[in-house]
Symmetry: C2
Subunit: 362 residues, 2 copies
Amino acid sequence: MSTIYDVARRAGVSPKTVSRVLNSDGPVGEKTREAVEAAMRELGYVRSNAARMMRAQKSGIIGLITGAISTKNQPSTQQGLPDLYIVQGIQRALESSGMTVMIADTAGRNDRVPHLIDTFLSHRVEGLIHVAEYHQEVNLPRLPDDTPLVLANCFDAHGTPSVVPDDRRLQRDLVRRLIAAGHRRIAYLSLRPDMVAGRLRPQGYREALEEAGLPFDPALLQHVDFDQFEIGPQLLWDTIDRMLHLDQPPTVICSGNDQMAMMVYGILRSMGRKMPDEIGVAGFDNYRAIAETLYPPLTTVDLPYNAIGVRAGERLMQLISGVGRDDHSPVLVAGPVHWRGSVTELRPENVISFKTLREEKQ
Amino acid sequence: MSTIYDVARRAGVSPKTVSRVLNSDGPVGEKTREAVEAAMRELGYVRSNAARMMRAQKSGIIGLITGAISTKNQPSTQQGLPDLYIVQGIQRALESSGMTVMIADTAGRNDRVPHLIDTFLSHRVEGLIHVAEYHQEVNLPRLPDDTPLVLANCFDAHGTPSVVPDDRRLQRDLVRRLIAAGHRRIAYLSLRPDMVAGRLRPQGYREALEEAGLPFDPALLQHVDFDQFEIGPQLLWDTIDRMLHLDQPPTVICSGNDQMAMMVYGILRSMGRKMPDEIGVAGFDNYRAIAETLYPPLTTVDLPYNAIGVRAGERLMQLISGVGRDDHSPVLVAGPVHWRGSVTELRPENVISFKTLREEKQ
DNA sequence: CGATGTCATGACACCGATGTCATGCCCCTG
DNA sequence: CAGGGGCATGACATCGGTGTCATGACATCG
């Protein structure tokens, strides 16, 4: 690969002049510039970043650590791997600043993290982002003070800048919408409480009930470890069965995420319950491959992974430029409710037309 | 960040000696080594790759171009974004060689590719891999001869080394298994024929029929543009409806991928057909979030994205070390059939017990 | 017409690591 | 005790850009 010296020789100028052309630095004569540009083209010259970096003491590189679960999934609640969306968002936020992204995956082994960080440091990354598979608490080794770190889809106990989904608010928004549609008995099938989302989302659910003055019925809020092999579906079946046989059964079932909602679809159908007329189902994530493909399409709320990535990228750029270095508050990201066919509108005016419809059918 | 000179000064030795310790190069006295190591620890020294690269003329960096569709999906047949699995596989294959991975996403704009390549070249990547969202033909700008390129999940017309799924064989294996289970009337709902998978998979289907001596019935092979908004589900419904009303309706429906299979589930249920007893459904991809969560769990075949990544990484390392530079044949990757509950075994001995079961039920 | 300023360009040093070659020391051997 | 060989170490140049400063050629102005 040719160097700036090769270009200089070919164009009959000094390397410094070539550098000036490259960077539109100092003044360069019109003819000289053309000669240099021609030489660069002929040689297929591409500037070496390594040399540039040394001089400038800036790499223009950002390091990304993704904490993907290994193929043998241990916690495995999400298999759709939202990482990618986050990573895409980060790249979108960074491209305008001309940063290049390096990526390294822990491949499920947290003990590899220090080594990954060292590799990144040896490339003199200007910042690091740790991307988690699902909303969780993490604990990364300390970094040099001059290398900022942002946590995306995770947080730690040391106040490291983080960008996380606003699970509480998202769930609250969705349940609000259900209430606005006329639903009063709303069941909630939560993820395991040892997961962050298994704690925050139920909170949002209860908040929405509370502000609407609806009573909270403990029988309608259950944590289900739905994705455990064999047992998961059985637990889910049993939980739903109990709920449907309550004196006042729910008119809609909120699921901890879209994947669980998909399972709920199958179970309700096997029980002979028609959706959405007899019972509604709502999800969480807007995992489009599922939510849009299911029939009826799933009402859910958008867990905006892309936006989390964008915000994380933006936050990192701020930190690099020295802005908000002592702001330790996490950035919460929310998204819209997607109202699709899996839940009926039960508002008074609609209840009538709804009944009418049913009568017409019969 | 401290340099090798800082370490040398602190340890009272020359930079070259520090370098020797770093690389376990020439001989170093026991006491000197310890002094140097102590100095490195105290300063938190991390070697600068930029300087190293310059001297060594080797970057240890691989560039990855991912061609993710933008959020506004135009072709959009897959939304599960298998890229990530491929990228993970690549990383796994590369980590043993100590390569670091740079990544850049086209964000759906192919015109950005030349720029991305230039960025990578300026970092003097030792090789490039282009990762496609789905099996397709691509056309990348020419690279310098000394920078090898591997295409993952895609191929081009110039014989660039590529690693792609063996769609034909995968589909054949799955249909073989269906035939072995006793099925004779097998429907195939294919992806659009303008997609590679929409051509190769039907071929595999026909091959399996042929080798089993089963007649090919054109009425049972239909291309369905299932993921088009609104119209998709209608087309799918109509196609299935026609098939089920044939004189000899199919006993199992093979879908172009798992997502389509999920839609087929919903449609069959809305038609009141019981699965798998009355009709079986098979998928393609082993998109686990779907295949394992559906009820009944989906019989499908594993499109091994991870393995594609690993093979692509391996192939690239070969090319870098100069092996197989003139081998232009694509690497085909296959995977196992996952037999789950969505298809019944109809083999003679089972057909009886199956009938018995039905009679018992009634 | 000489002083001053601007423009175009180049010489040189430097960033941090490492390959090459030289140096000094100690130990062993004849 | 002189000479040879291995060991530990350092001086120096180099990789490819770019910041700093210097230089020479003109143009402008009082």
